[in-house]
């Protein structure tokens, strides 16, 4: 009969398609974004951040950047920035989701937790190769133009996000660059962070336990490359931050600067992302040429 009746055939095909659809696509609405995966700390976007998010969509950053840290150890270590893997409740305000399917560039789900300043972002967005020479990220200097805020308030209403007059005032005089940076700095920051070295305020061990560079060289270099090279240069020659080669500062001073930062001037604090040993290793590495 099926060989002869196209109407019955079409109905049957539809039913067959709907079985898997119902179970794996429709049914999960019951569990996902419900109370069970709610995270109280997760806040909706401010008008400026939402504008940034829309620009992220306009520029198609999602073609190179994912936004989910998988539960794999290496993912958590590389992209978690202390916030661990991604949880469902973190995305409840994301319409659409921007998880992406390619990592031509690094995952950005927790980029806000990475010690990067607005100045760093701006420089990087304007000319990524000036910060990371081998990067293939396009230059986004053209985002240095006034932000169109015509729809900002309507967006908040449509998305049912709370906002205040102060939030809207914040938009005044902002550029597209400011908006996208505000979005970058929000990503992943709602989640309670596990502080690797929260207790480190002042040096606990008053002096550097690593006097022999050889023993720690490889590890120190690796940490430096990951955390510091983008501002101080691959060879410590200085780019966004000052040159660190042959620093004349004392070891304790260096320790203090690295752990507490000089945030007003664009040097982030690393006390929450690096533990004490790692910071001392970096100090040893910086002092390399003066020993």
């Amino acid at each position: 009969m099926l060989e002869k009746n196209p109407v019955i055939f079409i109905i049957l095909a539809f039913v067959v398609i709907m079985i898997g659809t119902t179970i794996t696509m429709i049914a999960p609405f019951k569990w996902i974004n419900s109370d069970s995966d709610k995270i109280a700390e997760v806040k909706p976007y401010t008008p400026l951040q939402q504008e940034g998010r829309d620009l992220y969509m306009r520029e198609g950053c999602n073609n190179c950047h994912s936004q989910t840290v998988r539960t794999l150890a290496a993912d958590v270590e590389r992209y978690g920035n202390g916030g661990g893997y991604s949880k469902s409740g973190e995305f409840v305000y994301d319409r659409p989701h921007l998880w992406g399917s390619r990592r031509t560039g690094p995952d950005l789900a927790r980029i806000g937790l990475k010690p990067l300043t607005p100045a760093w972002h701006k420089k990087h967005m304007e000319n990524p190769q000036s910060v990371v020479p081998a990067s293939n990220m396009p230059s986004y200097a053209f985002l240095n133009q006034p932000l169109d805020t015509t729809y900002s308030e309507r967006k908040m209403k449509l998305l049912k996000f709370p906002y205040t007059q102060a939030d809207l005032d914040e938009l005044k005089g902002k550029s597209e660059m400011d908006a996208i940076i505000a979005y970058m700095r929000k990503l992943g920051t709602d989640i309670p962070v596990k502080n690797a070295g929260a207790a480190v305020q002042a040096p606990v061990a008053q002096s550097n336990p690593y006097t022999d560079l050889k023993a720690v060289e490889e590890e120190a270099k690796a940490i430096y490359k990951q955390q510091c090279a983008s501002c101080h240069g691959e060879k410590r020659e200085g780019t966004l931050g000052p040159a660190l080669k042959g620093s004349t500062k004392s070891e304790t001073d260096l320790f203090k600067i690295i752990s507490q930062g000089s945030t007003a001037n664009g040097m982030p604090a690393f006390s929450s992302s690096l533990d004490e040993q790692k910071i001392w290793k970096l100090v040893t590495y910086i002092k390399l040429d003066t020993k």
Binding site: T24, F29, I32, R58, R70, R78, R95, H97, T104, S135
Partner: protein, 466 residues
């Protein structure tokens, strides 16, 4: 003898022409973005940055080249299998107009950055509505032709065609649901993890209902035509058909392994992906067994080459896909260049090979003449085959290399390589991939020239006859 007079084929010709044009644009943009990945200085203007061009490439490829050709072939096949002229030739011409307007507007709006970001559903809502209308008009035309048919039996190709009509409609409409802000911007109707789950239910079934089912319909029709042998087993085709359209819908979450999507959905997706090997290989074996006793045609008939190599890539694709759906393997290659390797074996190998073969065949029948040059067709075959193999193989190597570097940790749990070290390692492959694109484009140029010349030859000989 001239059967084509009974059928209405001007729209078939129109869709063939335009799908080739959009396909060429897809390939050229593909080459541009492959060059940009190796040389970022090539991002010369905002509307020519990688992030805006990549969706133009995928949309021109899947919608322009893929869907455009499928519409041509469905019009052609349906008329022949039902022994009935197209229900409404006028509607078909309108469909072609809407098709071209939709694809052109897609390219322009995506370049402007008007983009929903959901993969393969990037078009903003007014355009998405146009696409939906286009598809429904096309579906009605095909379906009415089937209803009014003179041939009672429905050959397996018609099954695949009807399944695609229903499947694409459901998928496209649901994944495009949204809340419009204004004419050029909307927000998804679904949020976060739900949105991701809906997206990949859609995304993977775009692979099923657009990049698998239609080429299979075309394959099942043309292989017997080309070889003058009936398909090996109609029954096997039917069993494979129902299990295929049943299983595909369960597998979307294999794009979301290790993410916050609930574990059981991931596990189900993994299991069904592996089960999919059976119906997929049902089609492959059906093709191979049809060739029984006449494998020498691989040498003597240029069209057989396209069909059999095409179905072979489908076979490889449906072994590789399930492998990628296994959690442990996904951990390794997900997000890396391995996946574009997989994608292009499917699009450049399977889908395009079948379409090249079918287009040659249809062009010669519509023109009622022989192909302009078999030699050129053979050169075309080898160039696109070599281009595609270089593309996929380099990307698989790059993916494995980067994947293993990204996961490598030191004994104390810290990472062995920085992100940039893993990236610098794969730059050479990006450059080779760009070269492979030019090889493929050269093959495509021969194809276009040959098709053009054949149509011209047909026009001349029909004038001479008249």
């Amino acid at each position: 003898m001239k059967a084509s007079t009974r059928y209405v084929d001007d729209s078939v010709k129109g869709f063939i022409t335009w799908s080739i044009i959009w396909g060429t644009i897809a390939v050229v943009v593909g080459i541009v973005i492959s060059l940009q990945l190796a040389w970022p200085q090539l991002n010369v203007a905002p509307y020519l940055t990688y992030g805006r061009l990549r969706p133009i490439h995928t949309n021109a490829g899947i919608f322009g080249w893929g869907i455009g050709s499928f519409i041509a072939m469905f019009f052609y096949i349906t008329q022949r299998l039902t022994k009935t002229p197209l229900w409404s030739p006028k509607l078909a011409r309108v469909t072609l107009w809407i098709f071209n307007v939709a694809i052109a507007s897609a390219a322009v709006t995506l370049a402007m950055g008007i983009n929903r970001t959901k993969e393969y559903a990037e078009l903003e809502w007014p355009l998405a509505i146009v696409v939906a209308i286009l598809w429904v008009l096309f579906s009605i035309n095909v379906f009415m032709t089937i209803l009014k048919r003179k041939e009672e039996q429905m050959y397996i190709s018609l099954w695949y065609i009807m399944a695609a009509l229903v499947g694409v409609t459901v998928l496209y409409v649901v994944n495009n649901l949204g809340m419009p802000l204004h004419l050029f911007k909307s927000y998804s109707a679904f949020a976060g993890t739900n949105d991701a789950n809906v997206q990949w239910w859609y995304g993977h079934n775009a692979v099923a209902m657009v990049l698998t089912v239609p080429p299979l319909a075309i394959f099942y029709y043309f292989l017997p035509k080309i070889t003058n042998n009936p398909i090996y087993s109609h029954r096997m085709g039917i069993i494979a058909f129902w299990s295929l359209i049943f299983m595909y819908l369960w597998t979307g979450a294999h794009h979301l392994l290790w993410t916050p999507v609930p574990d059981w959905i991931q596990t189900v997706a993994m299991a069904f992906s592996i089960m999919l090997i059976a119906p997929s290989w049902g089609a492959v074996m059906n093709g191979y067994l049809t060739m029984n006793g006449q494998w020498e045609k691989m040498k003597s008939n240029y069209l057989v080459k396209f069909m059999i190599v095409g179905i072979t890539f489908y076979g490889l694709q449906t072994l590789q896909g399930p492998m990628q759906a296994v959690r442990s393997f996904s951990a390794f290659i997900h997000y890396t260049d391995w996946v574009p390797g997989h994608v292009h074996m499917g699009t450049m190998g399977w889908v395009s090979m079948i379409l090249f073969g079918a287009t040659y065949y249809v062009t010669t029948t519509l023109s009622d003449t022989e192909i302009y040059s078999i030699k050129l067709a053979n050169a075309h075959f080898w160039l696109v085959l070599v281009g595609q193999l270089i593309y996929s193989i380099t990307m698989w190597i790059a993916g494995v290399q980067q994947g293993s570097m990204l996961l490598a940790t030191n004994p104390d749990g810290t990472l062995h390589y920085s992100f940039m070290e893993t990236m610098i390692a794969i730059f050479p492959y990006y450059k080779i991939r760009a070269i492979s694109g030019f090889i493929y484009l050269a093959g495509l140029a021969l194809f276009i020239y040959n098709i053009y010349k054949t149509f011209q030859k047909g026009a001349e000989s029909s004038v001479a006859k008249a």
